[in-house]
């Protein structure tokens, strides 16, 4: 839990430092925001690791069809990265870039989930064939 307090303190400290840098060095304050976002996300993901291990364990117990869990994991990863990138773009005044990267993330997740939709379609066809 030590990491959580450190991250919270770092974020508060960064806000003050960004205010100190002010409008004179706007570019460096954006980079500072980026660095802190990356570091805090790395800390968050470190906490997420045992949760993901538990999910893999649950998958092996439930015997979920192969490949489904990988797609979901990739979607979560893409969502996380795209959300952070989008927020940084919006904060730095480039909301169009932020929206674009979020659209890219959505499209990539849709692309990754094609096998899921195909599996669902096959299942429906099988059920309808049995009726």
């Amino acid at each position: 839990m030590d990491e959580f307090w450190k991250a919270s303190a770092a974020v508060l400290l960064t806000v003050v430092l960004i205010l100190a840098l002010g409008k004179r060095e706007k570019d460096i304050s954006v980079l500072l925001t980026m660095a802190v976002c990356c570091m805090v996300t790395v800390s968050a993901i470190t906490y997420l690791e045992p949760v993901l291990d538990l999910l893999w364990e649950l998958e092996s117990i439930a015997n979920v069809q192969g490949g489904m869990m990988e797609i979901l994991m990739k979607a979560v990863g893409i969502g996380l990265v795209v959300e952070i990138a989008g927020m940084i773009c919006t904060d730095s005044g480039n909301s169009s870039l932020g929206k674009t990267i979020q659209t890219l993330g959505t499209v990539v997740i849709l692309y990754l989930s094609i096998p899921l939709f195909r599996g669902f379609l096959t299942l429906i066809q099988e059920i309808l064939g049995q009726v």
Binding site: A10, I28, C38, K74
Partner: protein
């Protein structure tokens, strides 16, 4: 991997030093050198931040099985 508080101070310090140098050089009429100083500071910070972004992407790739 732990929070690197020193890095935050390092980036902020570079920002403040660049800002002061920029002001001093601008006031003494060396606009070109002031611009070059700003650019150099930006590149230095960008290199530090690029490393952190690469770390994050590597971690996400490893953990979410890309």
């Amino acid at each position: 991997m732990s929070m690197d508080i020193d890095l935050i101070f390092k980036i902020a310090a570079i920002g403040i030093i660049v800002s002061i140098l920029n002001q001093v050089l601008s006031r003494s009429g060396r606009e070109e050198q002031a611009t070059m100083t700003s650019l150099a500071g930006l590149v230095v910070v960008l290199m530090i931040v690029a490393q952190k972004i690469a770390d994050l992407f590597d971690l996400v790739k490893t953990l979410f099985e890309f």
